[in-house]
């Protein structure tokens, strides 16, 4: 099952796109869609861990409403600061999971993924955040 999962996923995703594009659910069109989905080349993939995949999909889905929340906060914020932060990689060996990671990070307006850290276990993430309220007085600026 785990070996079949990548094939099943890519084929059904392509079939979904085909059906949306043609807007036609007749049997002949579905057959053509399946044929096209199977005929297109596929990337070789390791067996997908189902739990991690579902978790990544869920996180990407939740990122959409979060993105709108962040967009509104970004729009009303008066003082923004740029920072570099690190975010852990789910699984470097599976392209789909990395894609979903990058999608989730970059979709939200506060953060943009910039690639991997040299250790290969974290993403370099550029963050633009409303400045945190600090109690200490700002550092003296040198003229």
């Amino acid at each position: 099952m785990r070996r079949l999962l990548p094939l099943l996923l890519s084929t059904s995703f392509r079939l979904l796109l085909w059906c949306l594009l043609t807007a036609d659910l007749s049997r002949l069109n579905l057959l053509i869609g399946v044929a096209v989905a199977l005929a297109l080349p596929r990337a070789r993939s390791r067996p997908l861990p189902l739990r991690e995949l579902l978790r990544a999909l869920w996180l990407s889905l939740v990122a959409v409403p979060r993105a709108y929340g962040e967009a509104l906060r970004l729009m009303v914020a008066s003082d923004l600061e740029e920072r570099m932060v690190r975010e852990p990689v789910t699984d470097r060996t599976i392209p789909l999971l990395m894609f979903l990671d990058v999608f989730r990070i970059t979709l939200t307006p506060f953060t943009i993924a910039l690639g991997l850290e040299p250790d290969g276990q974290h993403y370099r993430v550029h963050a633009l955040l409303p400045r945190r309220q600090t109690l200490r007085p700002p550092a003296e600026e040198t003229p």
């Binding site: 796109l17 059906c19 949306l20 594009l21 807007a23 959409v64 993105a67 709108y68 967009a71 970004l74 729009m75 923004l80 740029e82 990058v102 999608f103 970059t106 979709l107 939200t108 307006p109 506060f110 943009i112 993924a113 910039l114 690639g115 991997l116 040299p118 250790d119 290969g120 550029h126 633009l128």
Partner: protein, 108 residues
């Protein structure tokens, strides 16, 4: 107020908010802020604003839902990944450790 009027109002509202997002996110392009900051603003405009507009169109022309849904899906994915590609390409090139083919090679 009938269902049609509600969906008409909601659609206008979504289109309007999408337009606000667009202008808010496009304006920083003309300013002198950093490249990354412009990309952050563009993700608001391009991805989120355009998605709201497509939702507004979806309410307005419901019989075209397959194409609009496809547009929504493609927009979300492509815009986000283009943002990532632009951000990554703006970085100075860094060689990941352990992957260099020739360790003796002089850094240029």
């Amino acid at each position: 107020m009938g269902l049609a009027a509600i969906s008409e109002t909601a659609s206008l509202l979504l289109l309007g908010i999408g337009l606000v997002f667009w202008f808010w996110g496009t304006w920083p392009l003309l300013e002198t802020s950093s490249y990354a900051r412009k990309l952050h603003a563009l993700s608001v405009a391009d991805t989120l604003g355009s998605a709201l507009m497509l939702l507004g169109l979806l309410l307005r022309i419901p019989r075209q839902w397959p194409l609009l849904t496809l547009g929504l899906l493609a927009l979300m994915l492509w815009n986000t990944i283009f943002g990532y590609v632009l951000a990554t390409c703006s970085q100075p090139r860094r060689r990941p450790t352990g992957l260099s083919r020739n360790p003796q090679e002089e850094p240029r």
